[in-house]
């Protein structure tokens, strides 16, 4: 994979397409094993809309297919959303400590301030 194509894959996960043709239901849905509940989820500090990186998996991984594809080596991390379904991922590791109060400040490891997460926790 060329330098450019590797990073292109990551960039695609971060740009406007994420907003395209997603219904309210899709946006509101927080699965039981959402990536946002996982210890390996690191929220993106630029777009605090719930985009993030997986700390374990690198670009090229796909946890939506069966069986999942795990790429463990590489420079760039896999991008996921806070409400991506991590049910099929063997690295899912539930994070007990979820901070949904945004009055304090950025903490990519612990903070999940999306409105939908609040509902899921309550």
């Amino acid at each position: 994979m060329s330098r450019r194509s590797q990073w292109k894959q990551v960039a695609n996960g971060m740009l406007g397409d994420v907003s395209k043709a997603r219904s309210v239901e899709e946006r509101e849905n927080v699965p039981e094993k959402a990536c946002g509940f996982c210890k390996n989820f690191s929220e993106n500090a630029y777009a605090s809309d719930g985009r993030g990186y997986c700390r374990k998996l690198k670009v090229g991984s796909d946890i939506k297919v069966t069986p999942p594809v795990y790429v463990m080596e590489g420079q760039a991390s896999l991008t996921v959303l806070f409400n991506s379904d991590g049910a099929g991922c063997e690295y899912f590791n539930r994070q007990d400590l979820i901070d949904t109060d945004g009055n304090e400040v950025n903490d990519p490891s612990y903070r999940r301030v999306q409105r939908q997460m609040e509902k899921a926790i309550k």
């Binding site: 994420v18 700390r55 991390s77 945004g102 304090e104 400040v105 990519p108 409105r115």
Partner: protein, 832 residues
Amino acid sequence: MVAEPAQDQSVQELEDKQEWWWVAEKKRSKRLDYLRKSVWKKGALGGNYAPGIKLDLECATLFTDMWKFWKYDPIMMRRAKAIAHVLDNKTIFITDHSQLVGYFGSLPNTIMWRVDGASMVNEEAYNEPGIMPEPENESLQKVAELNDYWAGQTAVDKVARILDPEDAVKFLSGAIGWGAPSSAYGYSGKDYEYLFAGRRGFEDIIEEINAAVENAEDKTVGVPGPEILDIYDRLQNWDAMILVLEAGIRHARRYARLARTMAENMETDEKRREELLKIAETCERVPARAPRNLQESLQYDHFIQIFARTEAHEGAWPARPDYYHGPYYDKDVNVDKTLTKEEALDLVGEFMIRAYEVGGFAPRWAREGLQGITGTWVWTLGGVNKDGSDACNDLTVAFLQAARLVRVSNPTFGFRWHPKVKDEVLRECFECIRHGLGYPSMRNDPLLIQNAMHWHGHPLEEARTWVHQACMSPCPTTKHGVQPMRMASATANCAKMVEYALHNGYDHVVGMQMGPETGDAAKFHDFEELFQAWVKQMEWLTSLLVRTVNLGRYKDPEFFGRPFLSGMSERSVESGLDVVSPVGDRGNCWVTAFTWVENIDSLAAVKKLVFDDKKYTMEQLLSALKANWDGYEEMRLDFVNNAPKWGNDDDYVDDIMLRCLRETARHSRVMKCPSGNSWPILPENVSGNIHYASIVGALPNGRRCGDALYDGGISPGPGLDKKGPSAVLKSCGKIDHVSDGRAFLLNQRLSPTQLAGEKGYQLWKAYIRTWADLGLDHVQFNMVSDETLRAAQKDPEKYSEVIVRVAGYSAHFVDISRKTQDNIIQRTVQGI
């Protein structure tokens, strides 16, 4: 919530207790009191919007409807038509007791949503708790529809698509910098010389555009050739400028009509009826024609700001209100005597309140980095005229007095100090600082004029017109000097330079290879190897951000378009080019250097304890850092307490500061902006030191990932400047404030007890003289005691009006997160 002052205490008693916020409430007029308390707070409380603040869906919908409708128009025309539709149709309001009007949202509690800026921000708006207008389900449906429509076609989407994908990912990781590479979000300089010094209203500008159009049209029906081809685009641009200027005039007349309707049909109080008729008369006059008095002049300025912010999310508010409105104050108060000083103070105070009210939806990184406020509204006061004479006037004093009455945290002032400033004006500055406002910041005018000439080649007369383009950076307000679009995207999280130098470019926080591979630090044999790795990381990080900004600037006329800003800029009115086009712009770029001093203290600590004293090996240090110092507490304290720290007049570490700055200044001259000019650095932080606290890994200066970074600029680490204020000034004075960078922020805390009374003023004045003599360009003060701040933490409601200087801006203490509050309390209180 604003609590009531103790009714049984006199002004004198409250002054003696230095409870300035209650003093202000007792002293200000009933009108100012009402208006100040009626404002909805748009700044974030920590990272969240205050209860009751709602996303403005009306303006976003109006804009999108018209944008969709005119889909075949060129971008500038399309935007002009969409803006005009918003201005013609949105809900407007006039608040009781107000004399100045205009808000860019549709209701007082709404925040404007720049729906065409970035899909990421749009998704964030959708996900944000608490800001959806009721009924929430309907609003969510509406926002989802808008997000679907704008997905992929916002300004930032367009730029990010063509950036090198590696650059895009690393920039958008949020780890190495922030900002958005588009004038959809930025700091737009204004051509005040053209508007105010030139005494032009919108109708005057339209006439000038029409003349330019006529001239150009002659060419399009003349001899065919390549030289006429771009005229067709320019004609479209000119039409767009006219369209939006006319919409601005119509919008003001909507206010005139509302004020007249209120006066004629609703108002029973005769005095208020007269005020409403005055508002009507004012809005019929401006912005169509040039102002004739203070109220018109302030109203004109406010309309300009509102229109510019309807067009783009402007994160700053470059202005020089005493200079441009001063002549009207003088005419009304001193010559014609149509206004008393008290009446003028009411207008000036309200002018500040109207700005305080302005707030748009901002992404979380911006909210966290500017906690408590909505943007850096740093207004410039004082300074010199174009001929070098003192420019301070009666309005300068009025602004400084009004600030103490309305006590808003935004706008704040930056005062252009120079040796000819009169004592009475300097005293007013001191009074604001003594009253705990944290502003004005003091700026060294002669030095900054020289700096502007040095870096960007602004001629002397133009450099003398400078205003703060954001928190700190001077920019002229002239045809070729004004920078219409400065994007925050060249804001570097500099602590990553030393972090990456230590970890071979790998970022352990986001888990990605970010910087270049500069070698395994465990194998470095001497300090020089580490320093050279740092240089490479510095070059890589600043270059990546500058590439992003340059591309954003170059493509902005194609990807965004600024018809209104163009329509009030001489360069565009004359040329027909989008003002954001770099053609004819002299360039005034700078790289904002967040979290800078961590580099210096970290490098010094490694040099001292690893390479000089050989007390630890690099392997040991790297292990401790990877463990976030967990289990290495004794060693960590050694790196904090037994390594030299910046700000103590110690050449060991100060020399490293100079070396880092000079390497960066060298690289600043290598990197060029689209106008071909340099990119000097400007160390400062706002509250980015808190935002980045959990994004920067453990460092050799002894901080862990999670700890607040230093408070910014060239300020020493909180509590680490142990040798007094003179040592701080001497360390900072070693920096050449002309050629080492663009400007250098310095925070200092002073004791309100020590600086009480006349003696206090004289001490402070002597301090300022030393500061100027040592050649520093900036200093700002917090003069609120630890006791008051701790009391405010315990009883926030009682102290809701306590203001502190954060860095480059002020905020109400209760609006900032606990980590930020503690970071401020940790700063050393210097006795002078």
